[in-house]
Symmetry: C2
Subunit: 556 residues, 2 copies
Amino acid sequence: MPAVKHMKWWGWGVEGVSFHWEDKPAFPAFVSRAVGIDITQPPESPKTIEQLHVPAPRISDEVRGRLTDAVGATNVAYDDLDRVVHTYGKSLRDLLRLRAADLPRVPDAIVYPGSEDDVRALVDLAGEADLVLIPFGGGSNISGSLHPLAEEERTVVSVDLGRMDQVLEVDEDSGLARVQAGVLGPDLETQLGRRGWTMGHFPDSFTHSTLGGWVATRSSGMQSDKYGDIARIARGMRVVQPSGTLVVRPVPSTSTGPSTREMVLGSEGRLGVITEVTVQVHRIPENRLMLAYLFPSFEAGLAAMQEISTSDAHPSVTRVSDQYETQMSLATRKASKGFSVSSTVGAQLFKHLERRGWDLDQACLSFIGYEGGRAHVAHEKGIVGAIIKAHGGVGLGKGPAVLYDQKKFDTPYIRDFLLDRGGAADVSETAAPWSKLFPLYTAVVENVRKVYADLGVTGWIMCHLSHSEHSGACLYFTFAFAHDDNPIAQYDRVKEALQGTFIEAGGTLSHHHAVGTEHSRWLEDDISTQGVLMVQGVIDTVDPTHQLNPGKITSV
Amino acid sequence: MPAVKHMKWWGWGVEGVSFHWEDKPAFPAFVSRAVGIDITQPPESPKTIEQLHVPAPRISDEVRGRLTDAVGATNVAYDDLDRVVHTYGKSLRDLLRLRAADLPRVPDAIVYPGSEDDVRALVDLAGEADLVLIPFGGGSNISGSLHPLAEEERTVVSVDLGRMDQVLEVDEDSGLARVQAGVLGPDLETQLGRRGWTMGHFPDSFTHSTLGGWVATRSSGMQSDKYGDIARIARGMRVVQPSGTLVVRPVPSTSTGPSTREMVLGSEGRLGVITEVTVQVHRIPENRLMLAYLFPSFEAGLAAMQEISTSDAHPSVTRVSDQYETQMSLATRKASKGFSVSSTVGAQLFKHLERRGWDLDQACLSFIGYEGGRAHVAHEKGIVGAIIKAHGGVGLGKGPAVLYDQKKFDTPYIRDFLLDRGGAADVSETAAPWSKLFPLYTAVVENVRKVYADLGVTGWIMCHLSHSEHSGACLYFTFAFAHDDNPIAQYDRVKEALQGTFIEAGGTLSHHHAVGTEHSRWLEDDISTQGVLMVQGVIDTVDPTHQLNPGKITSV
């Protein structure tokens, strides 16, 4: 078996790592208030793979033989664990289905190509033997982009790019690195870092997502304000398609008709298997500084981010949480560390703010990142600091930001912790023009709470602004509720409130999580009937017989 | 007749304005040396429209009637002048054909829609009556995107968007303006400027190109380093297509599959008629400063631009001319004004540089633009100044830059001046990674000179870097030669040397001039066979019967 690591089959992250509340004294009371769950009670007993009753592979001996010919016997897997790991991504729906042993269709084989030639052999085989191929990176997708369709009668092969994980070449003069698509975030940054470079792409899924996956879903990262999202970073591409290999040359910009580069971005495997991406890389900056601020309200925080986005400063991170997410952050603080209401500094500051008339229940935590030379960081801090002050914000220094930076990739573990205790949680994000952002936010909160009330559940909704652009920003919502015996039906109601409100309020379906099957029913509302026609046209041109991840993005 | 202004039918710009050499004492000697033409001799006598023998419109009475129904009788034109103006863009090939009265196919009617409803009526009519529609903005295109194909047997209607020229709405909170596609550059900036905004898009064609044209060709402007090219600026769009209207909602970013926005960008009319664009706008900055610098060589200038592009500074303009373009700039200086070898300051500086060992024939002029608050401009000037110094450059202050800024949109007039005197000239531009830029530059100069030698003509080739990006830059070449009796055949040889070398040397066909018919033969070399397949797939999906500007971008 190839040495490709996977996440837990039943949840996020690596085996043996999970969320613990015991060192976070404020957490049980917070969860009880937020979603009505007593986390001090023992959790559900863990599932075992044997309980799943994984259906047998539907694959002929001939196809087995030809898969072996294509990638070698050691790089094909048919065992239950591997097949289950490759059945779903990590959306709430995916995890609920796994926990319910709901596996209507599982990939029949998993292949681990080691080269573009291997991928070519697989794509050719798919055409000849009428297989379905589903490209697979880190498996962290939460938009339903990875599962075989329940009604799929053809043999389904999951193409795991995990062996193709090398930085092949760095053009140091141009700041361009040619990289295999299957590399995971930490491995990529390690390989680049050894040569003194960074790509600067740090999505929340960073530890368990791949370069190819980022391209296929139009990913954004924590520091995209500076480095650009993956659409900016990915300059060149090689994509193995049924009738040939698409080559996007790594030019800095081009005016050669409708952009094929921008067709591959967000294509979720439907336009071929991405084998290689040439990405912009940067020298590791002299200084990387993250500072925390507190705003008297979310509206004030948003207004400050807006003003920063049109100022002379270009911080690497602009982030502000609403009051609910701020309360959650405070509730997950460890007993003895960092900024908190209970720490001496925190208590003094909070008293001071109360005297100034703040309602501390409305306080909103913000992080701003600065990068560059010392003078540049000082220059930008000055501009940003003045804007934050003008909007009533106060500085909290480095402490909370350092803590945030350390635990930012751990948040998804909390979802599994909640699922073990009857709590359902997931995230949905959008982007909208600045003028529509706060109205969208209030409408979402109101509509989701209405659903909670309708369902009769205790639920929580919180939000942060995660990226700023000139004309608007990304709002990232997290929701959680105590579910009943039909959690998927409840989730559907909540999700409907989120996505429907995004569209109605002038936002987009997704800023960086893609469409998959989870968002495809609203796609037409977002990109218009003609937009769907155009997307389907490209798909049908490249893959007329729908061998490649059918049913994703569009339902056809 | 609608009050839509057009350029001269036979050349660039407005009637009554042309290039004059009489106040530029160094120009005749320069032209004599560069292209072997004596400009002090009287020019060819001007052409008249009567000499052209414009073929009669091929249009039925029924279609005439329906065009009138669609846009109103006063907004349809059939006269020779209007039809000739809408036959070509302003490429060298276009101008040579006009001067040779080579008009194999002329639009049969010109329509001036006043609203999206008018455009819808026209697109519907095109489907019903099997017409060809060619959207027309300012007519400044130099890639052969505007002419009807010679073999076109269907009735051809040029759709001039000139009446749709209004800024409809400014979302001041978001910095977004909803604008009709037919607005010309100066009119757009005037309308925005009255409200305190700028779009910051200043292509060389600014005075005679439109918003819709910029989108349809993926235009870049002088200040794109700061404001972004049109692909960044254009957030929302409305595009009238045969089976419906594509609506791209103006969200700051989105992850909703292959980008339909990026399909419209560069679509040259083939994916419908762009009626409206929602663009990013900016408050007019406190300071707009352009400074001139001089480098000891082009290589040094390129290296400095590269270092600036990865520095903490983000100037609004980065431009450096090679020694040949620098010589041309000096040769077009007016007798008494500004920086020059003959001015006292210039002479002193040049003597000083010679003492420092400069070969003044190799000196390269550079302009860097700064925008923002006073402290910000000072901060960026400091960073850039240190980099320029490290690469051997010296500052020349504001003088040359002010002059450049004043005359930057006048350069195309020189081409007509030369054409009147037996000189053929045009421009070609590319973009390539920094590592490939100087080798590409030297290969282009060498290969074009080889062609000049083969042809036995005196010719000139010069270049500037016009935009910097993180991983590379745009190189903009201008060529001119004394042509013989078959100037188009000679031009084809020169153009082949340019475009072929771009591709071979790792550059793209065009950074911001589009494909049209002029570059389509190299498209596959640039975007790969699969890339052409994908582009054709989108076109065929939207316009299966090829009613919309057929033969552009791809030859089908």
